[in-house]
């Protein structure tokens, strides 16, 4: 069993809930609040664990913030009993927790989200997957057999290409596709990690270290819409690129689309089959700069970009790969 370091204990106390049954007016710091406070601590040569010692009034005499008051911090830090009871239960169920300073923490989230990257990640399964390059699949509900099957193929292709699928729990077929074809997957869970970890469908892959379930919310949390939104943000931040499946009423019935990580919009790529496969192209095909450009483009700009790309002979490399991603008939 992992003994928590005092630093992790302090961060847990300041940023996490431990149970639904709790004192209602004690509210942990948000990722953003914690980010700011942690910076302040660092600037004043204080470590989070210093807050576990006596006399935080003295330690924090130069701190002032309307929302993060000393009283609030003290009430949070007093919850040591709740922390110990909860962590004992969660660890017994195989759940671990990592902070931003852990080498296991996904660096991609830190880099892209900075101050609003989650202060803590709870997880179960193989934490080493968190720092591998991932391709994201995120979607609407799997409403039809057709979509499910498409997702399954997407998972398979990602696995075949040696990438890790990062997704949420909705895309069960994609997860299956990846796992059944020898791949690995990271699944961001919006709530109740503990209960979901008991789902038989995940068990074997979790035991075999092929899967990791992660959540920025405490493992027994119930759903709030906020959780779901943030989870989707974390998937986007983690993924090197994203795939969305958009059902169409006409032929072809389904089209793969690239989701723009920065504008939070679809970059609906009408350039037929060829372009619709772009998102599956692992980024070693591109130089990082090229990728960035690609993902920030609006659809109107794509034509121009492609012309330029052709000039730079990127298209040649693309053509070679596209044949391998025959996802859409």
């Amino acid at each position: 069993m992992n003994m928590l370091t005092p630093s992790t204990q302090a961060i847990l106390l300041l940023t996490s809930y431990f149970s639904e049954n709790r004192v209602k007016n004690i509210i942990p710091l948000s990722a953003e609040e914690w980010g700011g406070f942690a910076q302040w601590l660092h600037k004043h040569n204080l470590k989070p664990e210093s807050l576990l010692e006596e006399g935080i009034e003295t330690l924090l005499k130069d701190w002032s913030d309307e929302s993060i008051t000393i009283t609030r911090l003290q009430a949070l830090l007093e919850r040591g009993g709740a922390l110990a009871l909860a962590m004992e239960k969660w660890q017994r169920a195989g759940i671990w927790v990592i902070t931003r300073t852990s080498p296991l923490y996904p660096q991609q989230l830190k880099k892209r989200l900075q101050n609003i990257s989650p202060a803590l990640l709870y997880g179960i399964g193989n934490p080493k997957l968190l720092n591998k390059q991932s391709l994201g699949v995120e979607s609407i509900q799997e409403s039809s057999q057709e979509i499910s099957s498409l997702f399954w193929k997407a998972g398979r292709e990602i696995a075949n290409d040696g990438y890790i699928l990062v997704t949420d729990e909705v895309n069960k077929s994609a997860i299956k596709g990846a796992l059944e074809n020898g791949g690995n997957s990271i699944v961001f869970v919006a709530n109740n990690l503990l209960q979901k970890s008991l789902n038989g469908a995940y068990r074997e892959a979790l035991i075999q270290n092929d899967l990791v379930l992660v959540s920025s919310y405490y493992p027994e949390s119930v759903l709030s819409s906020n959780n779901a939104l943030e989870t989707s943000r974390y998937i986007q931040a983690h993924a090197t690129s994203m795939v969305r499946v958009v059902p169409k009423s006409k032929n072809p019935p389904i089209q793969l689309s690239l989701f723009d990580n920065d504008t939070q919009e679809f970059t609906d790529l009408f350039f037929n089959f060829f372009i619709s496969q772009l998102q599956y192209i692992p980024n070693d095909t591109f130089k990082p700069k090229e990728l960035e450009i690609l993902f920030s483009l609006k659809s109107s700009q794509i034509t121009t970009w492609l012309e330029e790309a052709q000039e730079r002979k990127i298209i040649k490399r693309l053509e070679g790969r596209v044949k391998r991603y025959q996802l859409v008939e």
Binding site: N21, E78, G80, A84, S197
Partner: protein, 695 residues
């Protein structure tokens, strides 16, 4: 808080203006309250650990800290503790299974911050409902955590209590913001070192074990009859009231009954003990504890279930009917005697069955790997199962399944998790820690060897105990049976008492309880539903002996091996029935039939019938060869195995004795009785020669 303020609180709490702190008491309070430290306090019973945590609680509450949580195996705070807490204005409450009706009220008080100290047993922590509704809501603000009997934290502690593994892990995750007080009366250096290693940052205060008033003596009396006789011969010559420890529940019952038959007020006390006037076992046990506390009975005959830390200052004697598991366990039990009186007796009796009993305990301490994987396998294929559902899916005894679940559930990480009464398989790659099991088993064997050696010792017995416990003070006591033989009691007893005791052991019929329910869907061919209608149930029955026991059990086993039950068993059996005198008196006799041993039981039943002058009818025909019932390990399989196996012919419409040789789970007699009654017989009274260990 200053020392002087602390002293004022001490004086208030024990209502004595001149009281002074015992050695180390103030040091412990100071460390907890003023420095919020973690303390391990190794002090003898009676040193005053409750003063330490109540004074600390008062001080911390005054500073605005949250409730003190005390985890202790005791069922309730001792009366004197509650009084001293009240004097400090401390509202101390306890939550256990005896007061579940008050939980909601107490929970409300806890949430309103009106409770200062909450006392719970270690087992509570395994109760999901309690954890979720009571402990978790208040855990946002715990001021002080007290863990009693802290030696259980260590694997080297003599009694390995699974619930303490959980406590240990909770302590390990506890941030340094919460002061912790761990207390024990018995811990040798190895245990202290281990606790210090496991609970980071804990400091130890250690006192001396001295117990000047205790006169120790060891007496070897091989047969149980001789020990029973000895106790009756001498118990009234020992002043005061006390405890007689036995190694098994059954022996606690037998010894208590023997004492009662000899007009000595005594009661059995063990984990399963119940009484019709009390709602459950806990409330009855609490009543028994109080009876002894108030000297209303001469003795409690108890297993180790008699709460550790049971604190009665004037306990006059502790007699061990059998050897306990280890020297540390022995010291802890015998050390309860003579705290506040001038003289007390600690008598260690030992007999032939000791090593068998301990070997059984040691070997059955952990579930077998086979059982573990059977249970895991079932859970893997499911999406959550209740205990009853598991029972229907695997052929293991309820107790065996429970043992597996209990063992697995306290592992961390654990391959199983209980959520809302269902067990789930967690995604944890699990293999049994064979090394640890071997280590613990070996250690227990060594510990038992040590107490066998102590039993034979010719040295000062008190010094022997103290040295084993690494006490600093190891001078000769001058009063034990070895130091001062004139203090010792004789090991002889009257011949008549010896004969009476051995007769008593042979007349110890065990009741067969009435079964009211069959497992669901187990008896489809017979068409029996789950609830057994009253008119199909059997009456309470009798068993002559426990398989291999000191009464008739050994004879039954030997005779069964030779395929013939001797006439001395017929005589004993008929005596038992006459003594019991069931009403309405049975008018005919029948027996369970078998396809493999066709004559064994019928021949016996026939001779019983002849002796009693009743007709014998072979009313039951075995019509299907099934698996031996002893291969069926839980209620579902045991019943299911009987479905359609018997047919009833030739009955009389009058009360009947239903005879069998061995009773295990009791389903055979329950099913046969229902069939007999269905066919029109009168009341059915099952009578059996012997019951097996699980019966």
């Amino acid at each position: 808080m200053t020392q002087n303020e602390g002293l004022q609180l001490l004086r208030t709490s024990i209502n004595n203006l001149n009281a002074q702190f015992h050695k180390d008491q103030w040091e412990a309070i100071d460390a907890l309250v003023n420095h919020r430290k973690r303390m391990l306090v190794v002090e003898r019973t009676g040193w005053g650990k409750s003063s330490v945590y109540f004074i600390a609680t008062r001080a911390l509450r005054d500073k605005g800290f949250g409730v003190t949580v005390i985890i202790s195996p005791l069922l309730a705070l001792m009366r004197n503790q509650i009084v001293s807490a009240e004097r400090l204005g401390i509202n101390a409450v306890t939550i256990n299974s005896t007061n579940s009706k008050e939980w909601q009220l107490i929970s409300g008080q806890l949430l309103d911050n009106e409770v200062d100290a909450l006392l719970i047993s270690p087992e509570r922590l395994a109760n999901e409902n309690f954890m979720e509704t009571i402990l978790t809501p208040i855990s946002d603000k715990i001021g002080l955590l007290v863990v009693d009997e802290a030696h259980c934290i260590s694997d080297w502690g003599h009694d390995f209590r699974p619930d303490y593994q959980r406590i240990t892990r909770i302590l390990q995750q506890m941030p340094p913001t919460i002061p912790i007080l761990a207390t024990t009366a018995t811990a040798n250096n190895r245990v202290v070192d281990d606790i210090e290693r496991q609970i980071g940052g804990i400091e130890t205060i250690r006192g001396t074990l001295v117990r000047d008033s205790l006169i120790l003596q060891n007496i070897k009396l091989s047969s149980q009859a001789s020990r029973l006789a000895w106790i009756i011969e001498y118990i009234n010559s020992i002043e005061g009231t006390g405890i007689i420890y036995t190694s098994t529940i059954r022996d606690a019952e037998i010894v208590a009954r023997w004492l009662q038959e000899n007009n000595i007020s005594a009661s059995a006390y063990h984990g399963n003990v119940t009484h019709q006037d009390f709602e459950d076992s806990n409330s009855y046990r609490q009543h028994l504890e109080e009876q002894l506390m108030n000297n209303q009975i001469k003795a409690l005959v108890a297993t180790t279930a008699l709460g550790m830390g049971y604190d009665k200052p004037d306990l006059g004697f502790v007699i061990h009917y059998q050897l306990p598991a280890s020297i540390v366990a022995y010291y802890q039990q015998v050390g309860r005697a003579g705290r506040a009186i001038l003289e007390a007796r600690g008598i260690l009796l030992s007999g032939y069955e000791d090593s068998d009993i301990q070997a059984f305990f040691i070997n059955s301490a952990f579930p077998s790997e086979e059982h573990v994987f059977e249970v895991l396998n079932i859970l893997e294929k499911s999406s959550g199962l209740s205990m009853r559902e598991i029972e229907g899916l695997i052929n293991l005894r309820y107790g065996q399944i429970e043992k597996v679940l209990k063992y697995l559930a306290i592992q961390s990480p654990s391959p199983i998790l209980k959520e809302k009464s269902k067990w789930y398989r967690t995604p944890i790659n699990y293999s049994m820690d064979r090394e640890k099991i071997a280590f613990l088993t070996n250690q227990r064997e060594e510990e038992f060897k040590d107490i066998e050696t102590y039993m034979e010792s010719k040295e000062c017995l008190m010094r022997y105990l103290r040295e084993t416990l690494n006490d600093t003070d190891t001078k000769e006591c001058g009063k034990c049976a070895n130091c001062n033989p004139s203090n010792s009691m004789s090991s002889s007893f009257s011949h008549d008492l010896g004969i009476k005791a051995s007769k008593f052991l042979k007349h110890h019929a065990i009741p067969i309880k009435v079964k009211k329910q069959f497992p669901k869907d187990a008896l489809i061919q017979y068409g029996f539903k789950s609830t057994i209608p009253i008119e199909l149930r059997h009456e309470e029955g009798r068993v002559l002996s426990k398989w291999m026991d000191a009464g008739w059990g050994k004879t039954v086993a030997d005779n069964k091996h030779n395929s013939y039950f001797d006439d001395e068993l017929v005589d004993a059996f008929v005596d038992m029935i006459r003594e019991w005198n069931p009403t309405p008196m049975p008018k005919w006799i029948t027996c369970v039939s078998s396809l493999t041993h066709t004559q064994l039981v019928p021949s016996f039943a026939q001779r019983v019938a002849t002796k009693m002058g009743l007709p014998f009818r072979e009313a039951i025909i075995k019509c299907k060869s099934n698996q031996p019932q002893k291969m069926m390990h839980n209620r579902f399989y045991q019943c299911h195995n009987l479905d359609g196996a018997f047919e009833i012919v030739d009955i009389a419409d009058e009360p009947v004795l239903l005879i069998d040789d061995i009773i295990d789970s009791g389903w055979t007699v329950a099913v046969l009785s229902a069939l007999l009654r269905q066919k029109g017989s009168g009341e059915v009274f099952p009578v059996v020669l012997s019951s097996t260990a699980n019966g």
